[in-house]
Subunit: 340 residues, 2 copies
Amino acid sequence: MKEMTKVVLDAMGGDNAPGEIVKGAVEAVNRRSDIQVILTGKEDVIQDVLKGYTYPEGQIEIRNAQEVIETSEPPVMAIRRKKDSSIVTGLKMVKTGEADAFVSAGSSGAILAGGQLIVGRLGGVERPPLAPLIPTKKGFSLLIDCGANVDARPSHLVQFAKMGSIYMKHVMGVQDPNVGIVNIGAEEEKGNALVKETFPLLKECRDIHFTGSIEARDIPYGQVDVVVCEAFVGNVILKLYEGVGAVLISKIKGGLMQNLRSKLGALLVKPALKETLKDFDASEYGGAPLLGLSGLVVKTHGSSKAKEVCNSILQCVTFKEQHINEKIKQSIQAETEPAD
Amino acid sequence: MKEMTKVVLDAMGGDNAPGEIVKGAVEAVNRRSDIQVILTGKEDVIQDVLKGYTYPEGQIEIRNAQEVIETSEPPVMAIRRKKDSSIVTGLKMVKTGEADAFVSAGSSGAILAGGQLIVGRLGGVERPPLAPLIPTKKGFSLLIDCGANVDARPSHLVQFAKMGSIYMKHVMGVQDPNVGIVNIGAEEEKGNALVKETFPLLKECRDIHFTGSIEARDIPYGQVDVVVCEAFVGNVILKLYEGVGAVLISKIKGGLMQNLRSKLGALLVKPALKETLKDFDASEYGGAPLLGLSGLVVKTHGSSKAKEVCNSILQCVTFKEQHINEKIKQSIQAETEPAD
């Protein structure tokens, strides 16, 4: 018999909780028999939603947690005080080994803080990065780090590059992923102090395929698979991606509604446009892993629907099957040994 | 008689030089009688292009310069060695007061370095920022700084906020421009060390309208008029704007060509779409000023056509008429006085 992957799922987190979250869990267990989902949150509420679905009963259970951490709460305080929240309960199950992974669409801050405080870092990992996939012309790239800890050191960025490469290769199936460091020019001598110090360290790394600097303009073209930067810049990139995309699409929609001629045309182009823009939709790829923890924590979009939740659960299976954390440990330990 | 504004224009800079550059000069002098354009570059080449146009003869002259600085050359070295280049010649004319402003679509690096080395900073200005206008849902915002000097200090950012506000108000006609600092969250306690230190300083500034942090997601919506950040982040924002826009538009074009139905629709929506996307085109607004110099230096896109060149020249007139540099000097000096 195949080994089960146990995923704790925060049934209370995100704009569409608990409906879409529970639905995502049902979809996942209906797709694979080797997944066990534990829904954390208010038992009666979850039970109510679950009643509407058919699924292999043994594969979904509920772990009651009466509190909910709101996105507006200060993260660290919330983690410390709300011991009976769905997030704290879920993270503790990963810590104790009762579950392999925790997935939540709830408060990013609480998930990031809780991941470090409750689950804890893998030995040797200096800072666990949050690494969302971003859509590109070719497919997707991993943007690492978009977490909450800014002002990174060069050694952090080197670890991000290694962890990101392992994730892209073994979870996302990208062979020999290219790694680039976000910079303001292509030349090695360009950049801020952090980038200039990190660049030669990345060049020396034996276990990644470093291709040098990447200018922000080239990120959407998918020029590299792993886009390395510190979290302030990562957050700017991630959110600007969303903002420019949303404004441009709303401008285009406005343009299509401009006059009778364009409205007629809009009816004809709509299906094809919808199909194309789907490629540029991050929810296709599941959530963002918080890498480098003793267990797996995945943050999905606050607006996640069932599909993204389901995809995130499936990612956890690959993560476990591929022994990603063992690979990360090996890679991080190799770092302290001198290069030939 | 109205006072003349004298603009030196680099006839050799940019992808479309000298044709579109010269054409832009002709358009500008045909529109206003109070502009004098001095074209710098290879005299015979410029003369050849000029021959094809009709314009008030007294308003365009040529200053011969036999060398051209290429975009691939190391900027500081190029400025030092190529004394007879169009860029060095033009900047020197601003320095000596022979001209009020220098406009170029050539090497950004050489223009930025030359602006500081040859024209020099206004008294009190610590670092001259490059401040392009970026398109937004509402119109445009000023992104300050996108220059070549990274790792800024809080005092630099405060000066950027002041200079940017003056420019938006008096050159672009935005009443009481809002100022925001790029951050990874809306709260004052968020951000990296630079942002956290700068935030209270901006709050204390009496002569700007500071509205707090702005997340990158909200920049394209035009939430603030002056977007303050250090140059590394500014460069990432500027270039990602371009990249995401270009990839999204190419995806949409691909979508429109997907099948017969969408192709028919594309014919109908094309004029309206073109009109809408024009709003999102930075060339409408002319070039990016390098602020805080003893004179005005404007960098236009490398791909500038006549329209952007012409608009950039017209901006120089407003800049002079509005006594922007006097206003910047006053504002920077006020900074050293304690707030009430």
